[in-house]
Amino acid sequence: MSSVPLEHVLVLAALLFALGVVALLVRRNAVFMLLAIEIMLNAAGLAFIAAGARWGQPAGQVMFVFILAMAAAEVAVGLALVIRLRRLFGTVDTDAAGEMKG
């Protein structure tokens, strides 16, 4: 198989994670914030796969499957919240939901 050094894969995962963090900090659009969380979860999954490939164990891919299930549940609830936000405030800007009522 490939002879990619482990730290290169982990650096790629770190780069993707950092891009997700920056997007989460910059954006105020709720859908973009969910996308940023997806990017970060994907990067975490990549790190698990890399670790699994390093030792030739299936545990890394098992953890990736769990991350996938978690991401699916999170996206379903998150998008339902976005639809709710849109119905209540007429926008998907998270600053609109800055008050503790309604």
């Binding site: 490939s2 659009n29 997806e38 990549l46």
Partner: protein
């Protein structure tokens, strides 16, 4: 295979950068699909064909299609205009610096003094059979917990997404009958 990994890594990084800088949500979603297909190629190069298939089928195929459906439902033309007003170059500086500092720290920790340097990912590829055996043997409890999490997500999404009357907050048709 090594060259394919680095090519896929470059594509993933460029596509992800384009995702986070787009104003139009649909464009960002399409770039994210490209990014995840590239990450699936990286998984394949790392000897994880089952994870690569799941990445294509579930991430790029199911989760992002869910995003596309919701974006189409929301009709977000006004949000693009609002965001283009304040999303200037200055808005990126602070978060970019914070992200770069964290990234530099992680990369430094990965490359210096952890004993990781020189270890290669050249182990045997792990096929779907091994993953399935681990998933339903060693990790069966965690698999059932993941099933319960999905059930909770399903109920939560249904509860949050149902239509309510604006005056009472009750679901339509229940309070009036």
């Amino acid at each position: 295979m090594t060259f394919a990994f680095y090519l896929a890594a470059a594509v993933a990084l460029v596509a992800t950068t384009l995702v986070i800088t787009r104003l139009n949500l649909i464009h960002a979603l399409l770039y994210l699909i490209v990014s995840q297909l590239a990450i699936a190629v990286a998984f394949l190069c790392l000897g994880a064909p089952f994870a690569a298939a799941l990445e294509v089928i579930l991430y790029a195929g199911a989760i992002l299609v869910l995003f596309v459906f919701v974006v189409m439902t929301l009709n977000l033309g006004s949000a693009v205009r609002e965001e283009s007003e304040w999303l200037t170059r200055q808005a990126w500086i602070g978060p970019a610096i914070l992200g770069l500092v964290l990234l530099g720290e992680v990369v430094w920790l990965l490359t210096a003094g952890t004993g990781l340097a020189g270890t290669s990912t050249a182990a045997e590829p792990v096929g779907p059979v091994a993953v399935g055996r681990a998933l339903f043997g060693e990790y069966v409890l965690a698999t059932e917990l993941a099933g319960m999490l999905l059930l909770a997500g399903l109920v939560g999404a249904f509860h949050l997404g149902r239509r309510t009357r604006p005056d009472t907050g009750e679901p339509p048709g229940e309070g009036s009958r």
